[in-house]
Symmetry: C2
Subunit: 293 residues, 2 copies
DNA sequence: CCATGTACCTGACTTTAGTCAGGCAATGCC
DNA sequence: GGCATTGCCTGACTAAAGTCAGGTACATGG
């Protein structure tokens, strides 16, 4: 490996630890141990198993338990027995906890603003572009795409998130029952595939492809969690789905979507998809795309 | 400020804290408190006043004293009274201390290598380029250029470093006495200027410009400390020196240098300097550059 | 139903980090 | 020379971070 590359990276590491790391510590300093803030942050929006929290933060079981207790006493999180295993427990933020995280985000933004303030507009844009590249490439290691049974709990969870997001995004809401039906076995081999992307082991994106014999492949239920947008997860997923289609002999792939999903449409176009006329009459769609493989 | 820019930066901060920050902590974990490793690192190669160490690391006087004592007990640093002020003390690494730092660097490099290992060559190059941009722009805030008396201790220190580097770089060594003489007042207003660049308050680069009336401006003693190369310090210095020359009415600027100083030559050419014939007969030079302002 | 293992909790630690109030020697300034 | 100041050290703290050895309730596989 090129030693100049290593040198550049070491300097990057020093600078970033100094600038960004210090900032990170500062803004998390909110009258409670820093580790507690980090844990609150790491809990995220849904239910999290305590074991997974521990693993992600690298904490001792006893220590984690105490931190969690402290957050509970502050009224920022709730801990309940896991629905799937009564030994395990899951944590979730209370309303106050969510507000506190919003506040942490705000402080973090202030810090970012202060760092950017000394730069002119071009430099800010340059820094943001470089930061995006670094973020994307450093995250790569922790992203993995895997073939999943579309009925597995994690696949179901992703699809659920997807539906909820559509419901929130579309003016007229989203009714899965009104959509064209897709049976589970249409998204499992040999008739299709369903992929889940995990980031640090947590599911963050999903997508399915139907592979009807003699017809174009058809993409379904592409979803990327808001927390990982910008990391190139969508592109990675699309590549994997297209590869599955190609391997199955498909030469053409189609999908329906909605112009309200702007980021998704941009990505499809960027990846060579072109708009085509309605080919399936899906009621929630107002845009149809296709691409030759 | 564009909120998407802030969002990108926040994601960058999260990722980088996770990947790089964790790594940074890990590799410094060498059986002694992390703060001690950081201090050893921060001491650098020469003598450092303890007050300056404290300031850079943001430590309490008592705490700093204890950490230093611990490093002394380990045989990694020596502390001696300051030659200029018998109240103050200076710290320097022992041979063992230097070896320990080399080891820390090695571990840090291993970490960097592990991070880069998952990427192909193009991606590695892309990451390195982006890392360089981030490093340069984040460091900007802490770099300041100031006009200095060429006889001030810090200016002298920079020039000394410059001479030592030339001595080490040139096959035939460097003898200041054999070089064309430059009197201090030729590098001070109104006949010239001498600039020092500081990074986090420490001098890291210098450069002078002679402004003889009716003749082209002449750049002298451009030096950038190895530790900050790649941060764009040279370019910043060059810009400032050229601005001084322009303000003094010069329309043309010249300099002599040596092809052994490859990085410097590259920078001059990148900044629009073109090679010209020998115009001053400087014995240590084998290359002469000029540029219209 | 029992043996074994898992998930989390609790109490009792140690180490690291960081603060604060003096204290002593050297310095700078009348 | 006296006096405030500076630079560092020491002792005596507190809080945070992290570790370790049980303990309890539940899960799983025979």
């Amino acid at each position: 490996m090129d030693p100049r590359l290593i040198a550049a990276f070491r300097q990057f590491q020093r600078t970033v630890t100094r600038e960004v790391g210090a900032l990170h510590g500062d803004f998390l300093d909110r009258g409670r141990p820093l580790a507690a803030s980090r844990m609150l942050w790491e809990i995220g929006d849904g239910d999290v198993e305590i074991a997974s929290l521990r693993a992600r933060l690298g904490l001792d079981s006893g220590y984690a338990s105490r931190l969690l207790r402290a957050l509970e006493d502050e009224g920022l999180v709730e801990v309940a027995p896991s629905p799937t295993d009564a030994r395990a427990r899951v944590a979730r933020r209370t309303r106050a906890g969510c507000e506190e995280v919003v506040e942490l985000d705000r402080l973090s933004d202030d810090g970012a603003r202060a760092l950017l303030a000394g730069l002119d507009e071009n430099e800010q844009a340059e820094l943001a572009a470089a930061a995006r590249i670094v973020t994307r490439l450093l995250s790569r290691r922790h992203l993995e795409v895997s073939l999943e049974d579309p009925d597995s709990p994690e696949a179901q969870w992703c699809v659920q998130q997807y539906f909820e997001e559509l419901q929130a995004t579309f003016d007229a809401g989203y009714d899965p029952a009104a959509a064209l039906p897709t049976a589970s076995d249409e998204l499992a081999p040999p008739h299709g595939a369903f992929l889940v992307v995990r980031y640090h082991g947590q599911p963050v994106a999903c997508g399915g492809v139907k592979l009807p014999e003699g017809e174009p492949a058809f993409l379904k239920r592409m979803w990327v969690a808001p927390s990982v947008r910008g990391l190139g997860v969508g592109g990675m997923l699309l590549d994997s789905l297209e590869a599955r289609a190609r391997d199955a002999g498909a030469t053409f792939v189609r999908l329906d979507t909605n112009s309200a999903l702007e980021a998704a449409c941009r990505m499809y176009e960027h990846r060579g998809y072109v708009q085509v006329p309605d080919f399936n009459g899906e009621v929630h769609a107002n845009r149809w795309y296709a691409k030759s493989l």
